[in-house]
Amino acid sequence: MSLLALSDITIRYSRLTAVRNVSFSMEEGEILFITGPNGAGKSSLLRAIAGVTPVAGGRIDLAGHEITGQAPENIARLGLSMVPEGRDVFGSLTTEENLLVGTGMHARERGWRSRAADELEAVYATFPMLKERRHGQAGLLSGGQQQMLVIGRALMTNPRLVAIDEPSLGLAPNINDQVYERLIALRAQRQLTLLIVEQSSARAMMVGGRMILMRGGQIVLDGDARTLGNGEAIQAAYFGYEDH
């Protein structure tokens, strides 16, 4: 059974259709990039999976449960950890408080406090910089540090699927490289399942894994990032030459 399965998803904003009949599924342990130009519907799709944007039609399943129309907090409890576009740190909270916000959802389970403390140490081990600034206001961190923080925050709840929306947005290329280095290391270390939305497919080709290319609210290509990347098909698909 797939970890995440979308079938026939359509998303509308009043009269505008952002996503049209999209279906795909991903397996545990996979890394999947969703790429495509601005307005392709990538972020809408991600927000629909997280339960923040309502879907107009179709069905989404996560870890064997239907989550269509569920509240975001319930989807999070099923193991989805979302890193939205623009990073969304809680600026007035400290770095450590940011990391701890999500741990409360396991409060019903025994020993959640010690597990949260372990997770905190693990995140600090991966991002030592966060430990240095643990009691500082998160809003004062730099863009790259905030990106590390939200990735760390997403890991705190020991999720089954981490979804990241445009991690490169607004970051300098070298910082962006660092972010990806950590992500790849984390993935190897924890067998993370990653769903990443990026505008450019270059990063996907570099990292490898599976890639879905969207345009105009639909999937135009789906396959291995490296093989797709080498063909001319991707350029055609990205810019939409096949229409002419």
Binding site: P72, E73, D88, V101, G104, G139
Partner: protein, 301 residues
């Protein structure tokens, strides 16, 4: 001089508590809750047994203070949570204007419900009479009550700060106040946080009711309204959604009122509030976001 300071602090306490109650709800729901004043009135009348006679029949007001205080706090929290479950929950997606009017309408319902039960006649009650004796501090004779008001407000503020800073629920509430949808994506339960905010806000309303009831000795349906207008203004001046700002602005408004009362020429004193409102407009012109602009109040996606 000391008298002025204490007057300012005790008036500011009421405004600050009121503003805090509004700011808490605004933080998680972007709702400017006009029913808050009527929750205060409800708590005030919870001290009495329903009757339209001129003579007040004291009900909860007779209880010893250690029962009275929790009882009234519970009344406030309960009514406030009831408002959210019955009414405001249906307005989560509505625009702010619609929500404001709905809260206005709800306040109207509560007010007329109280009028039906108690009539519009002000009623006198001696609530905790032992508190009205004066005490002498540094050569100034101050009503004990004023002192207790200030101390109680400080205790409430410190308690609330500790609650928000040290507990898991407090952390979730602060996160939700700053970015509601992100907090939900991290598993924070929306309904619980909002109900928690309403409960706290209702308890704060009850605290105002107790202080006010003890201070004035008369219970009047209008009592909530007069404080609330200033409290709203304090919330906005403080930076909507910023709890610290609300408290600060509440005390500032209290201080401004008391200082103007003293400084203005005798002829102008009846117009004191007009000067305070004028000052409010000036502050807003220079800082439309409020003294302490809250982050993430721009829009909730």
């Amino acid at each position: 001089m000391l008298q002025i300071l204490f007057d300012a602090l005790s008036l500011g306490s009421l405004y600050a508590l009121g503003a805090l109650g509004i700011a808490l709800i605004f933080g998680v729901m972007r709702l400017v809750n006009f029913a808050h004043g009527d929750v205060i009135a409800f708590c005030v009348f919870a001290l009495l047994w329903p009757s339209t006679d001129a003579m007040a029949i004291v009900f909860a007001g007779q209880l010893p203070w250690y029962l009275l205080v929790p009882f009234v706090l519970l009344c406030g929290a309960g009514l406030s949570v009831l408002c959210e479950v019955v009414v405001f929950r249906r307005f989560r997606q509505a625009n702010p204007a619609t929500m404001m009017i709905a809260s206005f309408a709800l306040g109207f319902v509560i007010r007329y419900f109280l009028l039906m039960l108690f009539s519009s006649r002000p009623k006198s009650i001696s609530l905790l009479p032992e508190l009205s004796q004066p005490v002498e501090i540094l050569g100034a004779r101050l009503p004990l009550l004023q002192l207790i008001t200030i101390v109680a407000t400080m205790v409430i503020l410190i308690g609330l700060t500790l609650f928000l800073r040290q507990t898991r629920f407090g952390l979730e509430m602060r996160a939700a106040a700053e970015n509601f949808s992100m907090a939900r994506m991290l598993g924070v339960r929306a309904n619980r946080v909002i109900m928690g905010a309403f409960a706290l806000s209702g308890a704060l309303a009850a605290a105002i009711a107790l202080i006010f009831g003890a201070q004035t000795g008369t219970l009047d349906i209008q009592m909530g309204a007069s404080i609330m207008l200033m409290a709203f203004i304090a919330t906005v001046i403080g930076g909507l959604g910023s709890l610290g700002g609300a408290v600060l602005a509440g005390f500032l408004l209290g201080a401004a009122s008391v200082i103007m009362q003293v400084m203005l020429p005798i002829d102008a004193r009846p117009f004191r509030d007009a000067f305070v409102y004028g000052a409010v407009i000036l502050v807003l012109l220079f800082r439309p976001q409020g003294l302490i602009a809250a982050r993430g109040t721009k829009e909730r996606v």
